[in-house]
């Protein structure tokens, strides 16, 4: 039996490759480290210079001021509800639509699919005003419905799932059809479990998009109790925060990124597998 040698292991070339990767990772991490260090520095110090972050003085004041904002937990909860709700619904709708496009035939399918994909070319700003007016007409602004529903039309999700379902061998489904399994049963029991890597990829992208969304929540959730974290954190910045409140800005960035970081820690294996297109054993 021949052992398979990992390309990165052993030998000078492998070590150099690892060193290069570590160096690149360190360079990539530098801005994040800078943000983290700056969040512990007094604002008046940062107003004068933003180097020398590793030397005193340090302060927790930026975090104290942030945590002292009474609506912070509410905004965090709003963001979690909107992001999780949006992600779950995008997964359901994109999977169903993708399966429909990949496996069923109906009149005008190519046109409908083309129409869905055309949505990728429409920028968010182009539909903002009609979308806003639509939700005014429905009297739904300042609700979770308004924050979640406009983002459910996800052309990328439909495209991703369609392509993934197309790659699954038809024979698996045909065997089930011979056993009199219904289309829905085949979808739920056979195809869906096999599409978990694609679901994970789409889930991650949907969640991150929803978590970082700013423009739509800004104009739809106008009551402070309905702000999402992005809008809420921006609202508490002073007018010239980029000069006089840099430490506070950085503390906000750390706080906003923390939930994503925690999610990553727990689901690291799945996320890496999703992005690399493999499955977790």
């Amino acid at each position: 039996m021949t052992a398979t040698r990992h390309p990165m292991s052993g030998g000078l070339g492998g070590r150099l490759a690892i060193l290069a990767v570590v160096l690149l990772a360190a360079i990539w991490m530098l801005p994040l480290a800078w943000v983290f260090a700056a969040s512990f520095k007094p604002n008046d110090v940062l107003m004068v210079r933003t180097d020398g972050l590793l030397s005193p003085p340090f302060t927790l004041r930026n975090y104290e001021n942030l945590i002292g904002t009474s609506s912070l937990l509410r905004w965090l909860a709003n963001s979690a509800i909107v992001s999780l709700g949006q992600t779950a619904l995008v997964l359901v709708l994109s999977s169903l639509a993708g399966y429909g496009f990949a496996r069923t035939s109906f009149p005008g399918k190519r046109w409908v699919f083309g129409f869905v994909l055309a949505g990728l070319a429409v920028p968010e700003q182009a539909i903002l005003i009609p979308l806003h007016r639509l939700f005014v007409g429905l009297a739904l602004h300042n609700t979770y419905t308004a924050l979640i529903f406009p983002r459910l039309a996800a052309p990328f999700g439909v495209y991703l799932m369609t392509q993934y379902f197309k790659a699954i061998p038809r024979e698996l489904e045909e065997a089930a059809l011979l056993d009199n399994a219904s289309r829905l049963k085949i979808f739920l029991r056979i195809v869906l479990p096999m599409s978990l890597p694609a679901q994970a990829t789409l889930g991650i992208f949907s969640f991150l998009t929803a978590w970082n969304d700013y423009l739509w929540p800004l104009v739809s959730a106008t009551r402070p109790d309905m702000y999402t974290l992005t809008v809420g954190l921006a609202s508490i910045q002073t007018n010239f925060a980029q000069a006089e409140g840099i430490g506070f800005l950085m503390a906000q960035a750390i706080f906003a990124g923390l939930p994503i970081f925690i999610v990553y820690l727990f689901f690291q294996k799945h996320i890496v597998a999703a992005v690399s297109g493999t499955t977790v054993g």
Partner: protein, 445 residues
């Protein structure tokens, strides 16, 4: 039926009635108060003594707290704080969706658009009912809030374009008078000569102003230099822009020359320009009234390049006439924001409280909108306020009949910036401004 239970019944009924009456009397009126200036709840969430507060956020928060705590009508102010940048986008979205705030902050440069769209209530009668007369407004505040003979906003301040000066560096360049005050240029040639002398003595550029990711600085400086020649970029009527005048050309040439000859710190955005000034990398930073306190605090720190050597003056009259770009914050009642007499009275009460605290607000560095405050010895005793108080009458602001001023600022600022950053020829800059601004002005209602 015995008398005792009957008496108890009456007492109980009476008690219930009293509770009900008390409940009625305690009925609170919630007043939505939309603004930017940030949130500082951790530090000032419970502060009601405005005198103890500092900075824009601290002072405005404590004014609202104080009003809630002391007004006799049980009005509770509910701040709705929005980020400064997209504030007007959100406000417009709220108006469209019928979620209209009662009291909202508004730049005087934005007021004209909202008035033209019939979205703002005239305040003549309202202000009269709370004892405020427009005669008490400073000249500049009146220019900013009176449109077509009607008062549409309660002015809160005037903010303007200043030269913040590092006297230590100026001294090194021998650009200070015997009394320690800076020698200021009075002509374009003097300015260039001073800048050259400064650079030769210190090795640093004379100026810092935001040249990257910022269009406001170039716009404000350009309008200031044109106004100092007794001219204007916006002829009467608000439908045209004039950047072909000799005054406009001279202003563009001067800005171009300053940058081209290395007298302006390069590659600095807003934060970096201030940082360059505080770090002794430039002699003068051209920025607004709001940084006075921060710079003053830095000048009190030993070891700072600014230590003991900071002063601030209005943008000097390089072309002869005293004039400097200005704008202001004001408070408006939006139509539909107050739904009944009770809430309207509450909103006017808050306006009165804001007006009464105009001096406290002027501690931020902004100039007062209230003439009596601007003229007061107390105000002039604040650091450097005597230097800049003249701006309340010498300021130049874009006329309120010029629509879309914030978009106009971006268009003009970007073109002026590209002149000195990319060496775009001045005639091309003039053409680009005419085209971009022309579209904005003609396309507006």
């Amino acid at each position: 039926m015995s008398k005792i239970p009957c008496a108890l019944g009456i007492i109980a009924l009476g008690a219930l009635g009293a509770v009900a009456l008390a409940a009625c009397g305690d009925k609170k009126t919630e007043l939505s108060f939309t603004r930017f200036f940030g949130s500082c709840e951790a530090e000032y969430g419970k502060v009601t003594d405005v005198k103890q507060a500092h900075g824009e956020c601290g002072i405005i928060t404590s004014i609202a707290n104080q009003f809630t705590a002391t007004n006799p009508d049980h009005v509770v102010v509910k701040p709705q704080i929005v980020e400064w940048g997209p504030y007007y986008d959100q406000l417009s979205a709220r108006i469209v969706s019928g979620d209209i705030p009662a009291v909202a902050v508004m730049h005087e440069s934005a007021l004209g658009d909202f008035v033209a769209r019939n979205l703002v209530e005239p305040l003549d009668d309202g202000l009269k009912s709370i004892g405020i007369s427009p005669a008490e407004f400073t000249d500049q505040a009146r220019r900013g809030t009176v449109i077509g003979g009607k008062v549409y906003a309660l002015p809160f301040d005037t903010w303007s374009w200043l030269w913040h000066i590092n006297l230590n560096m100026m001294k090194k360049a021998e650009l200070v008078n015997a009394d320690g005050s800076p020698i200021l240029p009075t002509t374009p040639d003097e300015l260039i000569t001073q800048a050259e002398k400064f650079k030769a003595a210190t090795g640093k550029p004379y100026f810092a102003w935001p040249t990257v990711n910022d269009s406001a600085a170039a716009y404000r400086t350009f309008l200031t230099l044109v106004a100092q020649q007794g001219a204007t970029v916006f002829p009467p009527g608000g439908k045209t822009v004039d950047v072909r005048s000799d005054a406009a050309r001279r202003a563009l040439e001067l800005i171009n020359r300053l940058y081209g000859e290395g007298h302006v710190k390069t590659g600095a955005d807003y934060g970096a320009a201030n940082q360059a000034f505080l770090g002794g990398e430039a002699g003068i930073v051209v920025v607004g009234t709001w940084t006075i306190d921060d710079f003053l605090n830095q000048s009190k720190q030993a070891g700072s390049p600014l230590a003991g050597g900071y002063t601030v003056v209005p943008f000097p009259p390089i072309f002869g006439k005293k004039a400097v770009f200005a704008d202001g914050h004001s408070w408006v009642l939006l139509k539909g924001g107050t739904r009944d007499d009770r809430s309207r009275k509450a909103a006017l009460g808050l306006l009165r409280a804001l007006w009464d605290n105009d001096f406290e607000w002027s501690r931020t560095g902004h100039l007062p909108a209230r003439r009596s405050v601007a003229d007061s010895a107390t105000y002039k005793a604040l650091p450097f306020r005597a230097n800049i108080a003249e701006i309340t009458s010498t300021a130049y602001s874009v006329p309120s009949d010029v629509p879309r001023q914030r978009a106009v600022e971006v268009a003009v600022g970007e073109e002026v910036s590209s002149m000195y950053l990319t060496k775009k020829p001045i005639p091309e800059v003039q053409t680009a401004i005419e085209q971009r601004v022309g579209k904005l002005l003609v396309g507006a209602n």
